[in-house]
Protein backbone atom coordinates (compact mmCIF):
# COMPACT_ATOMS: atom_id res chain seq x y z
CA UNK A 1 0.00 0.00 0.00
CA UNK A 2 2.68 2.47 1.05
CA UNK A 3 4.72 1.50 -1.97
CA UNK A 4 1.73 2.21 -4.17
CA UNK A 5 1.31 5.60 -2.56
CA UNK A 6 4.94 6.49 -3.11
CA UNK A 7 4.63 5.38 -6.70
CA UNK A 8 1.63 7.62 -7.28
CA UNK A 9 3.30 10.62 -5.72
CA UNK A 10 6.53 10.14 -7.61
CA UNK A 11 4.67 9.68 -10.88
CA UNK A 12 2.69 12.86 -10.34
CA UNK A 13 5.88 14.66 -9.43
CA UNK A 14 7.47 13.38 -12.62
CA UNK A 15 4.55 14.67 -14.68
CA UNK A 16 4.65 18.05 -13.02
CA UNK A 17 8.39 18.23 -13.42
CA UNK A 18 8.08 17.35 -17.06
CA UNK A 19 5.39 19.85 -17.94
CA UNK A 20 7.11 22.40 -15.76
CA UNK A 21 10.56 22.18 -17.23
CA UNK A 22 9.37 22.52 -20.78
CA UNK A 23 7.86 25.85 -19.83
CA UNK A 24 10.47 27.32 -17.55
CA UNK A 25 13.85 26.36 -18.84
CA UNK A 26 13.55 26.95 -22.53
CA UNK A 27 11.42 28.80 -24.97
CA UNK A 28 9.50 26.28 -27.04
CA UNK A 29 8.04 27.66 -30.21
CA UNK A 30 4.80 25.98 -31.34
CA UNK A 31 4.86 25.83 -35.11
CA UNK A 32 1.78 24.69 -37.05
CA UNK A 33 2.39 23.91 -40.69
CA UNK A 34 1.29 21.77 -43.62
CA UNK A 35 2.56 18.19 -43.61
CA UNK A 36 5.97 17.81 -45.33
CA UNK A 37 6.24 21.56 -45.88
CA UNK A 38 9.51 22.35 -44.19
CA UNK A 39 12.91 20.71 -43.92
CA UNK A 40 12.78 19.62 -40.30
CA UNK A 41 16.59 19.71 -40.08
CA UNK A 42 16.47 23.50 -39.96
CA UNK A 43 14.88 23.28 -36.50
CA UNK A 44 18.21 22.02 -35.20
CA UNK A 45 20.02 24.90 -36.90
CA UNK A 46 17.54 27.33 -35.36
CA UNK A 47 18.01 25.81 -31.92
CA UNK A 48 21.78 25.96 -32.23
CA UNK A 49 21.70 29.61 -33.24
CA UNK A 50 19.06 30.90 -30.84
CA UNK A 51 18.55 28.28 -28.14
CA UNK A 52 14.86 28.18 -29.04
CA UNK A 53 13.32 24.74 -29.43
CA UNK A 54 10.64 24.10 -32.02
CA UNK A 55 7.57 22.01 -31.34
CA UNK A 56 6.27 21.07 -34.75
CA UNK A 57 2.73 20.07 -35.65
CA UNK A 58 1.12 19.63 -39.04
CA UNK A 59 -2.29 20.02 -40.65
CA UNK A 60 -3.49 18.89 -44.05
CA UNK A 61 -6.01 21.60 -44.97
CA UNK A 62 -6.48 25.28 -44.25
CA UNK A 63 -9.87 24.52 -42.74
CA UNK A 64 -8.42 22.01 -40.30
CA UNK A 65 -5.84 24.57 -39.20
CA UNK A 66 -8.45 27.31 -38.82
CA UNK A 67 -10.77 25.11 -36.74
CA UNK A 68 -7.96 24.06 -34.44
CA UNK A 69 -6.70 27.59 -33.85
CA UNK A 70 -10.24 28.91 -33.45
CA UNK A 71 -10.97 26.26 -30.79
CA UNK A 72 -8.01 27.56 -28.85
CA UNK A 73 -6.94 24.25 -27.37
CA UNK A 74 -3.37 24.81 -28.49
CA UNK A 75 -1.55 28.13 -28.51
CA UNK A 76 0.51 28.27 -31.68
CA UNK A 77 3.26 30.82 -32.18
CA UNK A 78 3.59 30.32 -35.92
CA UNK A 79 1.18 29.10 -38.57
CA UNK A 80 1.49 28.97 -42.35
CA UNK A 81 -1.95 29.24 -43.96
CA UNK A 82 -2.85 30.20 -47.52
CA UNK A 83 -4.06 33.50 -48.91
CA UNK A 84 -7.86 33.30 -48.45
CA UNK A 85 -7.50 31.83 -44.98
CA UNK A 86 -5.21 34.67 -43.95
CA UNK A 87 -7.81 37.14 -45.22
CA UNK A 88 -10.43 35.38 -43.11
CA UNK A 89 -8.23 35.28 -40.04
CA UNK A 90 -7.42 38.98 -40.36
CA UNK A 91 -11.14 39.73 -40.69
CA UNK A 92 -11.85 37.74 -37.54
CA UNK A 93 -8.99 39.37 -35.64
CA UNK A 94 -7.14 36.10 -35.16
CA UNK A 95 -3.66 37.31 -36.13
CA UNK A 96 -0.99 39.39 -34.45
CA UNK A 97 0.39 42.40 -36.30
CA UNK A 98 4.00 41.80 -37.35
CA UNK A 99 6.86 44.09 -36.42
CA UNK A 100 8.87 44.19 -39.65
CA UNK A 101 11.78 45.90 -37.90
CA UNK A 102 12.39 42.53 -36.28
CA UNK A 103 12.31 40.77 -39.64
CA UNK A 104 15.12 42.41 -41.64
CA UNK A 105 15.21 39.50 -44.08
CA UNK A 106 11.74 40.50 -45.22
CA UNK A 107 13.70 42.56 -47.76
CA UNK A 108 14.54 39.27 -49.50
CA UNK A 109 10.91 38.60 -50.37
CA UNK A 110 10.10 39.35 -53.98
CA UNK A 111 7.82 42.36 -54.59
CA UNK A 112 5.63 40.15 -56.72
CA UNK A 113 4.28 38.44 -53.62
CA UNK A 114 4.08 41.46 -51.37
CA UNK A 115 1.01 43.55 -50.73
CA UNK A 116 -1.40 41.09 -52.30
CA UNK A 117 -5.11 41.66 -51.78
CA UNK A 118 -5.50 39.22 -48.86
CA UNK A 119 -3.13 41.29 -46.73
CA UNK A 120 -2.68 44.58 -48.60
CA UNK A 121 0.21 46.01 -46.53
CA UNK A 122 1.66 42.73 -45.30
CA UNK A 123 0.84 43.86 -41.82
CA UNK A 124 0.14 40.29 -40.71
CA UNK A 125 1.93 37.90 -43.02
CA UNK A 126 5.24 37.12 -44.70
CA UNK A 127 5.10 35.07 -47.93
CA UNK A 128 6.60 31.57 -47.67
CA UNK A 129 6.01 29.61 -50.87
CA UNK A 130 3.77 30.04 -53.87
CA UNK A 131 2.45 27.66 -56.46
CA UNK A 132 -0.44 26.43 -58.52
CA UNK A 133 -2.90 23.56 -58.51
CA UNK A 134 -2.74 21.22 -61.45
CA UNK A 135 -2.75 17.64 -62.62
CA UNK A 136 0.27 15.40 -62.24
CA UNK A 137 0.21 12.14 -64.15
CA UNK A 138 2.34 9.12 -64.89
CA UNK A 139 3.02 9.11 -68.62
CA UNK A 140 3.74 5.37 -68.51
CA UNK A 141 0.25 4.60 -67.29
CA UNK A 142 -1.91 7.34 -68.78
CA UNK A 143 -2.08 7.69 -72.51
CA UNK A 144 -3.62 10.53 -74.34
CA UNK A 145 -2.83 14.11 -73.64
CA UNK A 146 -4.03 15.50 -70.36
CA UNK A 147 -4.78 19.14 -70.90
CA UNK A 148 -7.79 20.16 -68.88
CA UNK A 149 -9.87 19.61 -65.78
CA UNK A 150 -12.50 18.02 -68.03
CA UNK A 151 -10.15 15.03 -68.43
CA UNK A 152 -10.98 14.17 -64.84
CA UNK A 153 -14.56 13.44 -65.86
CA UNK A 154 -13.43 11.05 -68.60
CA UNK A 155 -14.56 7.48 -67.78
CA UNK A 156 -11.42 5.99 -69.35
CA UNK A 157 -9.49 7.16 -66.28
CA UNK A 158 -11.94 5.65 -63.81
CA UNK A 159 -10.25 4.54 -60.60
CA UNK A 160 -6.88 5.83 -61.74
CA UNK A 161 -6.72 9.28 -60.21
CA UNK A 162 -7.13 11.07 -56.90
CA UNK A 163 -8.78 14.36 -56.11
CA UNK A 164 -7.48 16.53 -53.32
CA UNK A 165 -9.07 16.28 -49.89
CA UNK A 166 -9.37 20.03 -49.49
CA UNK A 167 -12.62 21.89 -49.66
CA UNK A 168 -11.78 24.96 -51.73
CA UNK A 169 -9.40 23.19 -54.10
CA UNK A 170 -11.72 20.36 -55.05
CA UNK A 171 -14.68 22.69 -55.55
CA UNK A 172 -12.36 24.92 -57.59
CA UNK A 173 -11.65 22.07 -60.00
CA UNK A 174 -15.35 21.67 -60.73
CA UNK A 175 -16.04 25.41 -60.92
CA UNK A 176 -13.19 25.92 -63.39
CA UNK A 177 -14.26 22.91 -65.43
CA UNK A 178 -17.69 24.50 -65.71
CA UNK A 179 -16.14 27.82 -66.68
CA UNK A 180 -16.98 29.75 -63.51
CA UNK A 181 -14.85 31.79 -61.19
CA UNK A 182 -13.45 29.79 -58.30
CA UNK A 183 -14.41 32.65 -55.99
CA UNK A 184 -18.04 32.50 -56.94
CA UNK A 185 -20.69 33.54 -54.48
CA UNK A 186 -23.43 32.39 -56.81
CA UNK A 187 -25.25 29.54 -55.14
CA UNK A 188 -26.49 28.17 -58.43
CA UNK A 189 -22.95 27.82 -59.79
CA UNK A 190 -21.86 26.22 -56.56
CA UNK A 191 -24.69 23.69 -56.72
CA UNK A 192 -23.67 22.82 -60.29
CA UNK A 193 -20.13 22.27 -59.11
CA UNK A 194 -21.44 20.01 -56.37
CA UNK A 195 -23.45 17.97 -58.87
CA UNK A 196 -20.39 17.68 -61.11
CA UNK A 197 -18.23 16.42 -58.25
CA UNK A 198 -20.87 13.97 -57.09
CA UNK A 199 -21.19 12.71 -60.63
CA UNK A 200 -17.40 12.34 -60.79
CA UNK A 201 -17.13 10.43 -57.52
CA UNK A 202 -17.44 6.90 -58.95
CA UNK A 203 -14.41 7.65 -61.13
CA UNK A 204 -12.26 8.91 -58.26
CA UNK A 205 -9.90 6.47 -56.57
CA UNK A 206 -9.61 8.54 -53.41
CA UNK A 207 -9.69 12.04 -52.02
CA UNK A 208 -6.04 12.05 -51.09
CA UNK A 209 -4.30 14.09 -48.44
CA UNK A 210 -0.65 14.02 -47.50
CA UNK A 211 -0.34 10.50 -48.91
CA UNK A 212 -0.63 11.61 -52.53
CA UNK A 213 3.11 11.50 -53.32
CA UNK A 214 3.32 8.02 -51.89
CA UNK A 215 0.32 6.89 -53.92
CA UNK A 216 1.82 8.22 -57.14
CA UNK A 217 5.26 6.73 -56.57
CA UNK A 218 3.85 3.34 -55.61
CA UNK A 219 1.63 3.51 -58.71
CA UNK A 220 -1.44 3.19 -56.55
CA UNK A 221 -2.68 6.20 -58.49
CA UNK A 222 -1.65 7.17 -62.00
CA UNK A 223 -2.89 10.74 -61.91
CA UNK A 224 -3.70 13.25 -59.21
CA UNK A 225 -4.88 16.76 -58.57
CA UNK A 226 -2.03 18.26 -56.56
CA UNK A 227 -0.39 21.43 -55.40
CA UNK A 228 2.52 22.12 -57.74
CA UNK A 229 5.26 21.38 -55.22
CA UNK A 230 4.04 17.83 -54.71
CA UNK A 231 4.40 17.35 -58.45
CA UNK A 232 7.81 18.97 -58.39
CA UNK A 233 9.04 16.63 -55.67
CA UNK A 234 7.79 13.59 -57.57
CA UNK A 235 9.00 14.67 -61.01
CA UNK A 236 12.52 15.48 -59.81
CA UNK A 237 12.86 11.86 -58.74
CA UNK A 238 10.69 10.10 -61.31
CA UNK A 239 10.89 11.72 -64.73
CA UNK A 240 8.01 9.67 -66.13
CA UNK A 241 5.64 12.06 -64.39
CA UNK A 242 4.38 15.24 -65.98
CA UNK A 243 2.55 18.23 -64.49
CA UNK A 244 -0.17 20.03 -66.41
CA UNK A 245 -1.62 23.49 -65.84
CA UNK A 246 -5.20 22.93 -67.03
CA UNK A 247 -6.38 25.13 -69.87
CA UNK A 248 -9.51 26.27 -68.03
CA UNK A 249 -7.24 28.06 -65.59
CA UNK A 250 -6.54 27.21 -62.01
CA UNK A 251 -5.63 28.43 -58.58
CA UNK A 252 -2.55 30.51 -57.95
CA UNK A 253 -1.77 30.54 -54.26
CA UNK A 254 0.62 32.09 -51.80
CA UNK A 255 1.19 30.53 -48.38
CA UNK A 256 2.41 32.98 -45.80
CA UNK A 257 3.80 32.87 -42.29
CA UNK A 258 1.63 34.42 -39.58
CA UNK A 259 1.52 34.70 -35.80
CA UNK A 260 -1.89 33.69 -34.44
CA UNK A 261 -3.40 35.73 -31.59
CA UNK A 262 -2.70 34.07 -28.29
CA UNK A 263 0.87 33.21 -29.25
CA UNK A 264 3.01 33.06 -26.15
CA UNK A 265 6.41 33.72 -27.68
CA UNK A 266 5.96 36.66 -30.00
CA UNK A 267 9.59 37.72 -30.04
CA UNK A 268 10.81 34.22 -30.73
CA UNK A 269 8.18 33.92 -33.45
CA UNK A 270 9.57 37.03 -35.16
CA UNK A 271 13.05 35.56 -34.87
CA UNK A 272 11.80 32.37 -36.51
CA UNK A 273 10.11 34.22 -39.36
CA UNK A 274 13.30 36.15 -40.01
CA UNK A 275 15.21 32.87 -39.94
CA UNK A 276 12.89 31.36 -42.56
CA UNK A 277 13.43 34.39 -44.80
CA UNK A 278 17.20 33.96 -44.79
CA UNK A 279 18.50 33.00 -48.23
CA UNK A 280 20.29 29.81 -47.18
CA UNK A 281 17.43 28.53 -45.01
CA UNK A 282 14.96 29.40 -47.75
CA UNK A 283 17.04 27.35 -50.15
CA UNK A 284 17.19 24.36 -47.83
CA UNK A 285 13.45 24.44 -47.51
CA UNK A 286 12.78 24.96 -51.20
CA UNK A 287 15.12 22.14 -52.05
CA UNK A 288 13.37 19.82 -49.61
CA UNK A 289 9.70 20.63 -50.22
CA UNK A 290 9.85 21.29 -53.95
CA UNK A 291 7.62 24.36 -53.91
CA UNK A 292 8.44 27.70 -55.50
CA UNK A 293 10.16 30.22 -53.29
CA UNK A 294 9.00 33.80 -52.77
CA UNK A 295 12.54 34.78 -51.82
CA UNK A 296 14.63 36.57 -54.48
CA UNK A 297 17.91 35.68 -52.82
CA UNK A 298 16.95 32.03 -52.59
CA UNK A 299 15.80 32.03 -56.20
CA UNK A 300 19.36 32.85 -57.26
CA UNK A 301 20.55 29.61 -55.68
CA UNK A 302 17.88 27.43 -57.29
CA UNK A 303 18.89 24.98 -60.00
CA UNK A 304 18.20 26.85 -63.28
CA UNK A 305 16.77 23.71 -64.84
CA UNK A 306 13.67 24.35 -62.75
CA UNK A 307 13.02 27.67 -64.47
CA UNK A 308 10.24 27.64 -67.02
CA UNK A 309 8.84 24.32 -65.89
CA UNK A 310 5.11 23.94 -65.31
CA UNK A 311 5.64 22.64 -61.79
CA UNK A 312 8.26 24.97 -60.32
CA UNK A 313 8.68 28.37 -61.95
CA UNK A 314 6.19 28.58 -64.82
CA UNK A 315 6.44 31.34 -67.42
CA UNK A 316 4.10 34.19 -66.52
CA UNK A 317 2.03 33.71 -69.68
CA UNK A 318 1.24 30.10 -68.68
CA UNK A 319 -0.50 31.19 -65.55
CA UNK A 320 -2.23 34.21 -66.96
CA UNK A 321 -5.78 34.46 -65.71
CA UNK A 322 -5.16 32.15 -62.79
CA UNK A 323 -7.05 33.32 -59.72
CA UNK A 324 -6.10 33.69 -56.08
CA UNK A 325 -8.66 32.38 -53.60
CA UNK A 326 -10.64 35.02 -51.76
CA UNK A 327 -12.31 34.67 -48.42
CA UNK A 328 -16.03 34.25 -49.17
CA UNK A 329 -17.01 35.82 -45.84
CA UNK A 330 -20.21 34.43 -44.35
CA UNK A 331 -20.87 32.67 -47.64
CA UNK A 332 -18.27 30.13 -46.46
CA UNK A 333 -21.06 28.27 -44.70
CA UNK A 334 -22.42 27.41 -48.16
CA UNK A 335 -19.00 26.10 -49.17
CA UNK A 336 -18.89 24.07 -45.94
CA UNK A 337 -22.33 22.65 -46.62
CA UNK A 338 -21.57 21.83 -50.27
CA UNK A 339 -18.31 20.13 -49.27
CA UNK A 340 -19.96 18.05 -46.55
CA UNK A 341 -22.64 17.00 -49.02
CA UNK A 342 -20.10 16.02 -51.66
CA UNK A 343 -18.17 13.91 -49.20
CA UNK A 344 -21.29 12.40 -47.67
CA UNK A 345 -22.84 11.40 -50.96
Amino acid sequence: MRKGFILVVSLLAAVLAFTGCAKDDQVVLNVYNWGDYIDEDIFDTFEEETGIKVNYETFSTNEEMYTKIKNGGTKYDIAIPSDYMIEKMIREDMLEKLDMSKIPNYANISDEYKNLSFDPDNAYSVPYFWGTVGIVYNTDLIDGPITSWANLWDPQYAGMFTMVDSQRDSIMVALKMLGYSMNTKNLDELEQAKEALIQQKPLVLAYAGDNVKDMLISEEAAMAVVWSGEASAVIQEYPQFDYVLPEEGSNLWVDSIVIPKGAEHIDAAHQFIDFLCRADIGFKNADYVGYSTCNTETLKMIDPSLYDTTYAYPKPEWIEGFEIFEDPGDFVSEYDRIWTEIKAN
Binding site: M1, G4, L7, V8, L11, L12, A14, V15, F18, T19, N30, G35, D36, N55, Y56, E57, T58, S60, K68, N71, G72, G73, T74, K75, G209, D210, N211, K213, D214, M215, S218
Partner: protein
Amino acid sequence: MSKWIKRFYIGLMFAFLYAPIVVLIVFSFNDSKSTAKWEGFTLDWYNSLLQNDYIMKSLYYTILVALVASVLATVIGTFAAFGIFYMRSWQQKLVLNINSIPMLNPDIVTGVSLMTLFVALSLPLGLGTMIIAHVTFNIPYVVLSVLPKFRQMPNEMLEAAMDLGATPWYAFKKVIFPEIKPGVITGALIAFTLSIDDFVISFFTTGNGVTNLSIAVYSMARRGIKPEINALSTLMFTTVLILMVIINKRTKKEDI
Protein backbone atom coordinates in the same frame (compact mmCIF):
# COMPACT_ATOMS: atom_id res chain seq x y z
CA MET B 1 -13.05 -36.72 -40.79
CA SER B 2 -14.96 -33.98 -39.01
CA LYS B 3 -12.00 -33.63 -36.72
CA TRP B 4 -9.88 -32.68 -39.72
CA ILE B 5 -12.44 -30.18 -40.91
CA LYS B 6 -12.40 -28.60 -37.49
CA ARG B 7 -8.64 -28.42 -37.41
CA PHE B 8 -8.55 -27.02 -40.90
CA TYR B 9 -11.11 -24.39 -40.01
CA ILE B 10 -9.31 -23.26 -36.87
CA GLY B 11 -6.05 -23.23 -38.79
CA LEU B 12 -7.65 -21.00 -41.39
CA MET B 13 -8.87 -18.60 -38.72
CA PHE B 14 -5.43 -18.39 -37.17
CA ALA B 15 -3.93 -17.83 -40.59
CA PHE B 16 -6.38 -14.99 -41.16
CA LEU B 17 -5.54 -13.42 -37.80
CA TYR B 18 -1.80 -13.82 -38.06
CA ALA B 19 -1.04 -13.40 -41.76
CA PRO B 20 -1.07 -9.60 -41.68
CA ILE B 21 1.14 -9.56 -38.60
CA VAL B 22 3.58 -11.99 -40.17
CA VAL B 23 3.72 -9.84 -43.31
CA LEU B 24 4.53 -6.77 -41.22
CA ILE B 25 7.20 -8.62 -39.31
CA VAL B 26 8.85 -10.11 -42.37
CA PHE B 27 8.93 -6.86 -44.29
CA SER B 28 10.26 -4.93 -41.32
CA PHE B 29 13.56 -6.63 -42.20
CA ASN B 30 13.28 -5.93 -45.91
CA ASP B 31 16.05 -3.91 -47.49
CA SER B 32 13.61 -1.79 -49.51
CA LYS B 33 10.61 0.44 -48.96
CA SER B 34 8.52 -2.16 -50.76
CA THR B 35 6.16 -4.32 -48.76
CA ALA B 36 5.82 -6.87 -51.51
CA LYS B 37 9.20 -7.88 -52.89
CA TRP B 38 11.93 -9.30 -50.71
CA GLU B 39 15.19 -7.49 -51.40
CA GLY B 40 17.53 -8.63 -48.69
CA PHE B 41 17.84 -8.48 -44.93
CA THR B 42 18.41 -5.23 -43.07
CA LEU B 43 17.97 -3.70 -39.65
CA ASP B 44 17.87 -0.18 -41.07
CA TRP B 45 14.22 0.35 -40.29
CA TYR B 46 14.79 -0.46 -36.64
CA ASN B 47 17.63 1.99 -36.60
CA SER B 48 15.60 4.76 -38.16
CA LEU B 49 12.70 3.91 -35.84
CA LEU B 50 14.89 4.41 -32.80
CA GLN B 51 16.14 7.69 -34.20
CA ASN B 52 12.66 8.92 -35.01
CA ASP B 53 12.04 11.54 -32.31
CA TYR B 54 8.37 11.76 -33.12
CA ILE B 55 7.75 8.07 -32.44
CA MET B 56 10.03 7.95 -29.42
CA LYS B 57 8.31 10.96 -27.89
CA SER B 58 4.90 9.43 -28.47
CA LEU B 59 6.08 6.17 -26.92
CA TYR B 60 7.11 8.13 -23.86
CA TYR B 61 3.73 9.86 -23.66
CA THR B 62 1.87 6.60 -24.20
CA ILE B 63 3.54 4.98 -21.22
CA LEU B 64 3.39 8.08 -19.05
CA VAL B 65 -0.31 8.62 -19.69
CA ALA B 66 -1.12 4.95 -19.21
CA LEU B 67 0.76 4.80 -15.91
CA VAL B 68 -0.61 7.99 -14.43
CA ALA B 69 -4.15 7.44 -15.68
CA SER B 70 -4.37 3.83 -14.56
CA VAL B 71 -2.98 4.58 -11.10
CA LEU B 72 -5.33 7.52 -10.63
CA ALA B 73 -8.29 5.56 -11.96
CA THR B 74 -7.48 2.61 -9.72
CA VAL B 75 -7.28 4.74 -6.58
CA ILE B 76 -10.41 6.74 -7.32
CA GLY B 77 -12.30 3.70 -8.58
CA THR B 78 -11.42 1.48 -5.61
CA PHE B 79 -12.62 4.03 -3.07
CA ALA B 80 -15.65 4.65 -5.26
CA ALA B 81 -16.56 0.97 -5.21
CA PHE B 82 -16.24 1.03 -1.44
CA GLY B 83 -18.65 3.98 -1.23
CA ILE B 84 -21.03 2.59 -3.83
CA PHE B 85 -21.25 -0.72 -1.98
CA TYR B 86 -22.73 1.04 1.04
CA MET B 87 -25.11 3.26 -0.94
CA ARG B 88 -28.85 2.87 -0.91
CA SER B 89 -30.17 0.75 -3.72
CA TRP B 90 -31.61 3.51 -5.93
CA GLN B 91 -28.45 5.57 -5.54
CA GLN B 92 -26.39 2.57 -6.49
CA LYS B 93 -28.46 2.03 -9.63
CA LEU B 94 -28.17 5.64 -10.67
CA VAL B 95 -24.43 5.80 -10.13
CA LEU B 96 -23.80 2.50 -11.90
CA ASN B 97 -25.85 3.65 -14.85
CA ILE B 98 -23.79 6.79 -15.17
CA ASN B 99 -20.73 4.64 -14.64
CA SER B 100 -21.57 2.52 -17.65
CA ILE B 101 -21.99 5.47 -20.02
CA PRO B 102 -18.33 5.67 -21.10
CA MET B 103 -18.28 1.91 -21.65
CA LEU B 104 -21.38 1.87 -23.81
CA ASN B 105 -20.95 5.16 -25.61
CA PRO B 106 -19.00 5.04 -28.86
CA ASP B 107 -15.47 6.34 -28.28
CA ILE B 108 -15.98 9.11 -30.77
CA VAL B 109 -18.89 10.53 -28.75
CA THR B 110 -16.88 10.38 -25.53
CA GLY B 111 -13.98 12.01 -27.37
CA VAL B 112 -15.88 14.94 -28.85
CA SER B 113 -17.87 15.56 -25.67
CA LEU B 114 -14.71 15.75 -23.58
CA MET B 115 -13.12 18.00 -26.17
CA THR B 116 -16.16 20.26 -26.03
CA LEU B 117 -15.80 20.49 -22.26
CA PHE B 118 -12.07 21.21 -22.33
CA VAL B 119 -12.44 23.88 -24.97
CA ALA B 120 -15.34 25.49 -23.10
CA LEU B 121 -13.24 25.57 -19.93
CA SER B 122 -10.39 26.88 -22.09
CA LEU B 123 -8.06 24.24 -20.71
CA PRO B 124 -5.03 23.96 -22.97
CA LEU B 125 -5.31 20.63 -24.76
CA GLY B 126 -2.34 18.37 -24.15
CA LEU B 127 -0.94 16.01 -21.58
CA GLY B 128 -3.27 17.14 -18.79
CA THR B 129 -6.48 16.84 -20.79
CA MET B 130 -5.39 13.51 -22.22
CA ILE B 131 -4.79 12.12 -18.72
CA ILE B 132 -8.19 13.39 -17.54
CA ALA B 133 -9.83 11.73 -20.54
CA HIS B 134 -8.04 8.44 -19.90
CA VAL B 135 -8.93 8.43 -16.21
CA THR B 136 -12.54 9.04 -17.23
CA PHE B 137 -12.80 6.02 -19.48
CA ASN B 138 -10.72 3.86 -17.11
CA ILE B 139 -12.63 4.41 -13.87
CA PRO B 140 -15.79 2.50 -14.85
CA TYR B 141 -13.79 -0.66 -15.50
CA VAL B 142 -12.02 -0.37 -12.15
CA VAL B 143 -15.30 0.14 -10.32
CA LEU B 144 -16.82 -2.87 -12.03
CA SER B 145 -13.92 -5.13 -11.22
CA VAL B 146 -13.65 -4.06 -7.57
CA LEU B 147 -17.35 -3.88 -6.68
CA PRO B 148 -18.02 -7.65 -6.93
CA LYS B 149 -15.19 -8.25 -4.47
CA PHE B 150 -17.00 -6.11 -1.90
CA ARG B 151 -20.14 -8.10 -2.54
CA GLN B 152 -18.26 -11.36 -1.90
CA MET B 153 -16.84 -10.03 1.34
CA PRO B 154 -18.41 -11.27 4.60
CA ASN B 155 -20.98 -8.69 5.59
CA GLU B 156 -19.91 -7.14 8.85
CA MET B 157 -16.17 -7.36 8.42
CA LEU B 158 -15.53 -3.65 8.51
CA GLU B 159 -17.82 -3.12 11.50
CA ALA B 160 -16.21 -5.99 13.36
CA ALA B 161 -12.75 -4.58 12.82
CA MET B 162 -13.79 -1.13 13.93
CA ASP B 163 -15.58 -2.53 16.98
CA LEU B 164 -12.36 -4.19 17.91
CA GLY B 165 -10.74 -0.79 17.94
CA ALA B 166 -9.21 -0.45 14.48
CA THR B 167 -9.14 3.04 13.01
CA PRO B 168 -11.05 3.23 9.70
CA TRP B 169 -7.80 3.54 7.75
CA TYR B 170 -6.23 0.61 9.59
CA ALA B 171 -9.36 -1.47 9.04
CA PHE B 172 -9.33 -0.67 5.36
CA LYS B 173 -5.67 -1.52 5.01
CA LYS B 174 -5.60 -4.71 7.06
CA VAL B 175 -9.09 -6.11 6.63
CA ILE B 176 -10.72 -4.86 3.48
CA PHE B 177 -7.86 -4.38 1.07
CA PRO B 178 -6.60 -7.98 1.21
CA GLU B 179 -10.12 -9.11 0.32
CA ILE B 180 -10.54 -6.85 -2.68
CA LYS B 181 -6.93 -6.98 -3.88
CA PRO B 182 -7.52 -9.31 -6.84
CA GLY B 183 -10.25 -7.01 -8.12
CA VAL B 184 -8.04 -3.95 -7.74
CA ILE B 185 -5.23 -5.59 -9.65
CA THR B 186 -7.54 -6.72 -12.45
CA GLY B 187 -8.99 -3.22 -12.63
CA ALA B 188 -5.57 -1.62 -12.79
CA LEU B 189 -4.46 -4.00 -15.55
CA ILE B 190 -7.59 -3.36 -17.61
CA ALA B 191 -7.14 0.37 -17.17
CA PHE B 192 -3.50 0.19 -18.20
CA THR B 193 -4.15 -1.83 -21.35
CA LEU B 194 -7.10 0.34 -22.37
CA SER B 195 -4.92 3.41 -21.98
CA ILE B 196 -2.04 1.98 -23.97
CA ASP B 197 -4.36 1.04 -26.80
CA ASP B 198 -6.59 4.09 -26.97
CA PHE B 199 -6.72 6.12 -30.13
CA VAL B 200 -10.07 7.83 -30.68
CA ILE B 201 -10.49 9.57 -27.33
CA SER B 202 -6.86 10.65 -27.22
CA PHE B 203 -7.11 11.95 -30.77
CA PHE B 204 -9.83 14.40 -29.80
CA THR B 205 -8.50 15.45 -26.41
CA THR B 206 -4.84 16.10 -27.05
CA GLY B 207 -2.95 19.05 -28.48
CA ASN B 208 0.22 21.11 -28.11
CA GLY B 209 2.36 18.46 -29.73
CA VAL B 210 1.46 15.70 -27.29
CA THR B 211 0.72 12.48 -29.16
CA ASN B 212 0.55 8.83 -28.19
CA LEU B 213 1.68 5.91 -30.31
CA SER B 214 -1.75 5.34 -31.84
CA ILE B 215 -1.95 8.93 -32.98
CA ALA B 216 1.60 8.76 -34.33
CA VAL B 217 0.81 5.63 -36.31
CA TYR B 218 -2.40 7.18 -37.62
CA SER B 219 -0.75 10.34 -38.84
CA MET B 220 2.11 8.40 -40.41
CA ALA B 221 -0.16 5.83 -42.02
CA ARG B 222 -2.23 8.61 -43.55
CA ARG B 223 0.85 9.60 -45.50
CA GLY B 224 1.37 6.12 -46.88
CA ILE B 225 3.42 3.05 -46.20
CA LYS B 226 6.35 3.63 -43.85
CA PRO B 227 8.64 0.66 -43.13
CA GLU B 228 9.40 2.16 -39.70
CA ILE B 229 5.84 1.31 -38.75
CA ASN B 230 6.51 -2.32 -39.68
CA ALA B 231 9.49 -2.31 -37.33
CA LEU B 232 7.36 -0.75 -34.62
CA SER B 233 4.68 -3.42 -35.10
CA THR B 234 7.25 -6.15 -34.76
CA LEU B 235 8.60 -4.73 -31.52
CA MET B 236 5.13 -4.25 -30.06
CA PHE B 237 4.02 -7.70 -31.09
CA THR B 238 7.04 -9.30 -29.48
CA THR B 239 6.45 -7.32 -26.30
CA VAL B 240 2.83 -8.45 -26.14
CA LEU B 241 3.84 -12.03 -26.79
CA ILE B 242 6.45 -12.02 -24.04
CA LEU B 243 4.04 -10.40 -21.59
CA MET B 244 1.39 -12.99 -22.37
CA VAL B 245 3.82 -15.83 -21.82
CA ILE B 246 4.94 -14.38 -18.47
CA ILE B 247 1.36 -13.82 -17.31
CA ASN B 248 0.43 -17.32 -18.38
CA LYS B 249 3.39 -18.84 -16.50
CA ARG B 250 2.50 -16.89 -13.38
CA THR B 251 -1.15 -17.92 -13.36
CA LYS B 252 -0.12 -21.53 -13.88
CA LYS B 253 2.18 -21.34 -10.87
CA GLU B 254 -0.59 -19.88 -8.77
CA ASP B 255 -2.91 -22.70 -9.79
CA ILE B 256 -0.48 -25.22 -8.41
